[in-house]
Symmetry: C2
C-alpha cells in the first residue's frame, strides 16, 4: 500500500471520491434512494455535507456514478467471454461468476436494486443498453453451447431470462460480507442453472 | 353463462366489483400504481369516477384486494402440494405451474409487480406472510425430494430463491395473452430449474 504522501493530490481526491460513492451505494442499497439524504451519506463518512459537495454535485450523481462503475467492472469479463479460449458453457460460467461477484459489492448491487424512477434519463438509457448487451452476450453463449452439443435444445431468450431472474434476485435476499459465502452461493446457483441447461430435453 | 337477469343483485354487484379490480390491476401493471388514477380506471371501464366509488373506496383498496385475490388463488394448489399423492418433485412442478399461470393474470402479476412502498401496512404484512409461506412450502418439497433421492443434495434455501427469482422475473419481461405461450414458457423454465435440481452434484 502506498502511503498517502506518496499519492498525488489528484489520486487522493479520486480515492476520497470513491469513498463517497461507495458510502452512497451502501446506503441506497440498505434503505433505498428516496430515504437517503446527502446528510446521511456525510454522516456515515463523518464529514460535513459541505465537504461532500467538493466531490459530487448531487445524490443523483452518486447513483449514476455507482451504476457507471458497475457497468465498467463488467466490461472486461464480458469482452473475455467472447474470446473462444474455452467451451461456451465454461465461458458463460466464468462470466456469471464475475457477475455474481459484482453483485456482492455495493456498486454492483446498485445495478439491480436501483428503481427506474430514481435514475436520470441518461442513466436509465445507459443502464438499459448495458443490460441488453449483457443479455445478448449470454444468449449468444447459449446458442453456441446448443450448437456444440453441450446443452440441450432450448429457447435462448427464456433460458437467459431464467438465469438473470435468478441471479438479479440475489441482492434482495442474500447478505454477507464473507467472500466464501458468496462463492458457495455462486456454486450452488450456477450448478442448478447450468446443469439444468446441460440436462436432456424437458422431462416433466 | 347465466344471463344478468338470473343473477341476484349481490351477484351483479360482485361481478362489477371484480371488473373494477381487474381493470385496476391491468393499469397498475402496465403503467405503475403511482401513475394510475381512479379517473384512468373509470375511463378504461367507460364509467364515471362516482360509479367507481360505489364498488371501492380508494386506489389503495383496489391494490390490496388484487393482492388478496391472488393469494387466495394460490391457496388450493399450495394445500394440494402438501398431500403426498405423488413424488415431491412432481408436486413441486404442479405447484410452480399453477404459480406461473397465476402470474399470467393481471391479479397474479400484481403480486410481483407491486412496489412495497405502494402497499398499506396491512397489505404489506399479509403479502410477506403469504410469500414466506409459499417459500417454505417449496423448501419443504425440495427437502423431501433430496430425502427420496430424486434430486441432488443442495441448499434448499438457495434452490428455492433461485426458483422464485427466475419465476418472479417473468411478468417484467414476458407478455402474452395466449395461454399456449404461457404453457411453453412454463415448460421451458421448469425444465431448466427442475432438471438442474435433478442433475448430479455440481460439476463446474
Amino acid at each position: 500500500m502506498w502511503k498517502n504522501n506518496a499519492l498525488t493530490q489528484d489520486e487522493v481526491r479520486e480515492q476520497k471520491r470513491m469513498a463517497v460513492l461507495s458510502a452512497g451505494a451502501a446506503l441506497f442499497n440498505q434503505q433505498g434512494f428516496d430515504r437517503t439524504s446527502l446528510d446521511d451519506i456525510a454522516k456515515s463518512l463523518s464529514v460535513t455535507k459541505r465537504t461532500l459537495y467538493y466531490y459530487v454535485k448531487s445524490k443523483d450523481e452518486i447513483l449514476s456514478e455507482c451504476n457507471w462503475l458497475a457497468i465498467d467492472f463488467l466490461e472486461e469479463p464480458l469482452a473475455t467471454s467472447k474470446i473462444a479460449d474455452a467451451p461456451p458453457l465454461e465461458r458463460m460460467e466464468r462470466l456469471l461468476r464475475s457477475y455474481i461477484k459484482l453483485l456482492s459489492t455495493d456498486f454492483g448491487a446498485c445495478l439491480v436494486l436501483s428503481e427506474e424512477r430514481t435514475l436520470t434519463e441518461d442513466s436509465r438509457l445507459a443502464l438499459h443498453a448495458a443490460k441488453k448487451n449483457f443479455d445478448l452476450a449470454v444468449r449468444a453463449l447459449i446458442k453456441e453451447a446448443i450448437a456444440d452439443g453441450t446443452i440441450a435444445e432450448c429457447d435462448p431468450k427464456i433460458a437467459a431470462a431464467t438465469i438473470f431472474g435468478a441471479i438479479n434476485w440475489v441482492p434482495r435476499w442474500f447478505q454477507s460480507a464473507d467472500a466464501a459465502d458468496w462463492d458457495r452461493l455462486s456454486t450452488e446457483m450456477l450448478a442448478i442453472l447450468l446443469n439444468g441447461l446441460r440436462a436432456a430435453p424437458p422431462k416433466l
